[in-house]
Assembly symmetry: C2
Homo-oligomer: 735 residues x 2
């Protein structure tokens, strides 16, 4: 292998007009091949003509404001549920937008309310007949006749959105005063499509210097409904993966034509839960997602074709208006995008980006962004900040993923001028980029080694939400922590849905299935466990020698006397409160800490499991269930041999060095692969090793902010190497 040039290329620098000299100096120091603008900023001619590739952002649905102002009926809309009102007499009036932010929403009175809206008696759960209610557009109300005192009522209504959410968020966060409120037009309207294509054609012509068009993103933002009281309840509802904000009467009509059945407002409103990605989705909603994905591909493709006609490349941002884009979908390639850009905090997001097929270029936008303050308002690029340390800490998280999966480019975002007073940051990024380019060169030489423990993560979403749950990391959702752990481990991981499982069984080669999450969630599976085939397939898989790792409330589907459908496989179940009269088997468990076992071998002596807010009320079936740790009589870590296979149960999970190692070992144990454990593994849980067999390189990374030494066992399972690593450091060994 030739030594790659580690000083140049694969880096996108955010240029800043007015700081041309700095821009070009750092472009040189950091080896940038590309200079970008940011949403709403422009690059100066000096930069545009500097010989770097130019990369320009465009957000189509926000692009035609003057037209949008004149065509409010062409704005995007969604169903909202009015906040419940309790009747105290036989007639009840509901002010629809009460509690909602009226600069975001306006009621859509124009598309026949009687046709599209629904009124519910939420006490009975039944719809109120359309003849029983009437609208008053002037007052913004619906009045329901024949209400039962003591019952509560809600109205599902269509609301047009006057202010596009990213514009709204930036405007209000940065106190932009009377700067224009940008609105998002509805790309499903034929008139809008005409306008957008016209705009794009002109924009492309005007951006002669631009090589890469970065779409932010396609057409529909993730769902984000704001409340009236920004201090107390700003986010009435927000979900990174929900398609709520794609709905319109036109969409519903087209859906009905295509799918042969009608969706109702309640399919979207769902008692106020909407269709949160975290909850197991209905079949109807899945159909609707497919319908929108199809449309976004179709119209998106027209836009991308235009870009290509102008000899430019089209990249798409994997956030903001990404709904319907679905880079994890097999159809993503149909767009014809050239690149995908993901903003990353964590290793799982690196894997999410790398996981998309159908684009040539996978680019990461690293943190910290070049802003004066961080996400929680803490100083970064200003007095009191330590952006270099921030960059190191973000890097060791992302690097775990980069070592495991090939990424083509990285970049920064924000205001470049802010880095000027931080020369150590400038130097650190220079080194970071060399490290990135080196790792990329190893991937170019061939895939990193993976252990024989092939893993499938079973969720309601399967591959469609592989390597994510619903956007950036959220504490309390076990699966985020699980995928963050997995993202850096030398394992072949795939994501399967219950439909996949029922259609094809456990995929060939998979040794262990993970099911992790709380009852009812998309991650545990919720109603998908109703299908007895799911239980039968997984039970037989373990009977015949497979492994399962269950976390939290795996396979939860409440039935009398049983919560976990795989209770017999795990040798335990959860009492959700109905078993007060049922005795519980008295198991043996250590009074504190964890029992000695292959799975717990790397935990510090005497340490308690730190699983965050984990599940209680677990009871075991009998002596075959070995409890390795328990609290208040409820097992937290247990193993169970079942048939020829094995099951491991964890009552919760948070991302940490300890838990990553615990999970890694649990997967090996469940797969019955303990003898092969040591190969390419490290003794120090704050370090991880990756072997690139083709390149004959061993990469050892220190995931901690402290100096660490570790011992790596080589591929023969015997030879060991001792490696000393500085804080945040990396070592490359020839093997």
């Amino acid at each position: 292998m030739n030594q790659p040039d580690l000083t140049k290329g694969d880096f996108t620098l955010p240029g800043e007009a007015g700081y041309e000299a700095l821009t070009l100096r750092l472009a040189e120091k950091w080896g940038a091949d590309t200079i970008r603008d940011s949403d709403g900023t422009q690059l100066s001619p000096e930069i545009l003509e500097s010989g770097h590739a130019i990369y320009s952002t465009v957000c189509l649905v926000r692009s035609i404001q003057s037209w949008a102002r004149e065509h409010h009926d062409q704005l995007q809309q969604n169903f909202l549920m009015s906040f419940p009102v309790v009747a105290d007499k036989a007639s009840t009036t509901i002010k629809l937008l009460d509690g909602y932010y009226d600069e975001q929403f306006t009621v859509n009175w124009k598309d026949a309310p009687k046709k599209w809206w629904q009124v519910f008696d939420r006490t009975t759960g039944k719809e109120v007949a359309k003849t029983k209610w009437s609208v008053n557009p002037k007052k913004g109300t619906v009045t329901i006749a024949g209400t039962t005192p003591g019952h509560k009522y809600t109205v599902n209504f269509l609301a047009l959105r006057l202010w596009e959410e990213i514009s709204m968020y930036n405007h209000l966060t940065n106190d932009w005063g009377d700067r224009e409120h940008l609105a998002a037009v509805d790309p499903m309207q034929p008139a809008v499509q005409k306008q957008l294509l016209k705009f794009l054609e002109r924009w492309l012509a005007e951006h002669a210097a631009t090589k890469v068009v970065r779409f932010t993103s396609m057409f529909y933002n993730f769902s984000w409904f704001w409340g009236a009281d920004h201090k107390r309840l700003r986010d009435v509802y927000s979900d990174w993966g929900d398609y709520e904000m794609t709905v319109s009467p036109r969409a519903l009509k087209l859906f009905e034509q295509r799918y042969g059945y009608k969706l109702t407002s309640e399919d979207f409103v769902n008692g106020g839960l909407y269709n949160s990605t975290h909850n197991a989705p209905s079949r109807r909603y899945c159909d609707y997602m497919e319908f929108i994905h199809d449309f976004v591909i179709d119209f998106g493709r027209q836009c991308i074709d235009l870009v290509h006609q102008h000899d430019k490349l089209a990249y798409v941002f994997y956030d903001d208006h990404w709904v319907g884009v679905e880079p994890n979908s097999a159809r993503f390639a149909e767009f014809g995008f050239d690149g995908l850009i993901k903003c990353v905090f964590n290793a799982f997001e690196v894997r999410l980006c790398a996981n998309a097929t159908g684009v040539k270029t996978h680019e990461l936008r690293l943190h910290p962004y070049l802003f004066p303050t961080g996400l929680k308002g803490e100083p970064t690029f200003k007095e009191g900040g330590n952006p270099t340390l921030d960059a190191k800490n973000f890097w060791i998280d992302a690097r775990r993923g980069i070592v495991r999966a090939p990424i083509d480019r990285i970049g920064l975002g924000g205001y470049l001028s802010l880095v000027e007073p931080f020369p150590d940051f400038q130097d650190y990024i220079e080194g970071l980029l060399k490290e990135f380019r080196l790792l990329k060169s190893f991937h170019a030489g061939g895939q990193p080694w993976t252990s024989p423990v092939k893993v499938a993560v079973l969720t309601a979403w399967g591959e469609l939400r592989a390597w994510t749950c619903s956007g950036h990391f959220m504490p309390g959702v076990e699966l985020y922590s699980v995928i963050e752990s997995l993202a850096g481990l030398p394992l072949d991981v795939q994501f399967i849905s219950f439909d996949d499982l029922v259609a094809d069984g456990v995929p060939a080669g998979v040794k262990v299935v993970i099911n992790a999450g709380r009852a009812g969630t998309a991650w545990s599976g919720g109603h998908f466990w109703e299908n007895p085939e799911v239980e039968a397939i997984l039970t037989q898989f373990v009977q015949k020698g497979g492994g399962v790792v269950g976390i939290g409330e795996p396979s939860a589907y409440p039935q009398p006397g049983q919560l976990f459908k795989l209770a017999q496989v795990f040798g335990l179940d959860r009492d959700s409160g109905e078993r007060l009269a049922n005795g519980k088997y008295k198991f043996d468990a250590p009074a504190s800490g964890v029992a000695e076992h292959f799975i717990t071998a790397d935990l510090p002596a005497g340490a308690e499991l730190a699983f965050g807010k984990d599940v209680d009320g677990i009871y075991v079936h009998g002596p075959e269930t070995k409890v390795l740790a328990a609290r208040d009589g409820s097992p937290r870590l247990a193993t169970h041999e079942f048939g020829k296979g094995r099951a491991v149960y964890l009552s919760g999970f948070t991302f940490s060095h300890e838990n990553t190692r615990l999970l890694h070992r649990a997967l090996f144990w469940a797969a019955g692969q303990e003898p092969k454990w040591s190969v390419w593994n490290t003794t120090n849980i704050r370090t991880e090793a990756t072997c690139f067999p083709k390149s004959r390189k061993l990469v050892v990374i220190n995931n901690a902010g402290t100096d660490e030494s570790t011992v790596v066992t080589l591929g023969d399972g015997k030879t060991t190497k001792k490696v000393a690593l500085p804080a945040h450091g990396i070592a490359i060994l020839d093997v």
Copy 2:
């Protein structure tokens, strides 16, 4: 009022043969009017002829052992669910009694299995066709044909019980070796009835000296299924109120004739949950209880008539074989019992006993029992024990109830000889009895004063399980603690069911309704909340000025986007995990401790609420909900004004001085009766006051084991009296 004689009467002493002198000395010292035997012991002639009333125990269903041994088909039986077996091929064999204690159970092969049993595929939840399975009595198995590998199967089968549970418990606890295993015959069999009446007739004739026949109790024990492994899982299932052990083919046939529909084994087995009193009961099971109650009254009445024909009194023990007796039922009087005896640990059990109408005499069996060791094996009447302190501590718990509700007699149980070395105990009981007789005399003068805050406790069981949940106190069941608090408060408390509520609304005069328990339980209400009328009635009750106090998961009935049916009334709800994408209103709450409020006024400054394992995930609807205490963002104590009424929410409840006061004040606040708070209340939460207006006596009790002083406000709401009380002490003031 004449000064009553406080030295004599209303006391039942357990006599002991061989200790005649002691028996008679203590009978004199303690003023016993009655001397009892215990189950299985005999009194000597010296005691029988001492001039005291004699009280003898009899347990009919255990009384005819030689006949029972020859008529195994006449023993009591019940449905059992075999432990689940997972199929790994197309035929699956289940050993029915695997995991069960085979000295308790034997399979009933004689009553056609195909008629009475059911086999379930618990993976699909469906019954397996009767043509698909066959029995093998020799092997004790059922073999199911056509099983699906990976599915789990269970058999609901009839098991005869060879060993009556109280006999079994005493035998095994006391290592009785080869002493006879007593069996219980089934009183619904005509042949058994004949035998029992014959036995009773003879027994009555033989017990000429006996004045009171104490039945232990009628015919059916509470449910208690033992496991094979007594160390690890002795109690597979046990429930003080479940009618499982009354079932037989005969009962099912008679039920069908009467009710016009068939019950199945699954009506009893219920996926292995059986019909735990803690879970909301089905309509079918309630019908069955009524059917058994009717039978127990009918045959019980025949036995009691016999007793009366022999000029004796009939008392019944409110434990052990009490199933079907139902002293809280309006029909209890039909038995014709003369007395009811309740073994008590707690104040609520005093109220439970006092609550029964239809008997003249309500008698308590106090703790400690005269045994060498207590219930947890700790020493009592032996070296290292302090039975006097034990007696004081039990007494202050029971006394709270005795002050509030009239009890006619008290008694002790166990081996009298054990008290000989404890003269201080002998003296303490002498004083305790005087205290009891004095309180009884106050009740005789007229009811104690109750505040204007009339309370109804709403549960699935209503009055039928008033002042209990399912037997003695169980930690973790909020309602036990609630009723223990209520048992000593100057409130008029009634218990209503959902059926009562729907039929009659909130009872006249009730100011506050309490609903306390976890989702799905009989205490919260479970499926009874499905009926929208329940929500409507209670919502209107509060709209019009009523109060509700909700504890734990009040009104819980899961619907999309909503758990508490009364969420709008409480101004809050619980997120059971489905609202990750729904924003939560940011409320104000103190960072620690509780906010100042009428409800919290008596809590020690800075103290945290101690509610045991309380409910988390509570979110509030808006600023109208005032959060007085919260933890990890989840309210623990909150108030909400709704319509003209008020709601108070508590996330949990345990019995303590602090929480009793908190509940008392919460009820006053919910009723809008704060101005009347001080009347007959104490300032010191470890003390309580009761006014007997007719007797013009004020009773002030110290519920603590420390000396306390307190200030009581008199009936005018102004005048106060300072009272100093020794540990466990009582003061009687003229008012």
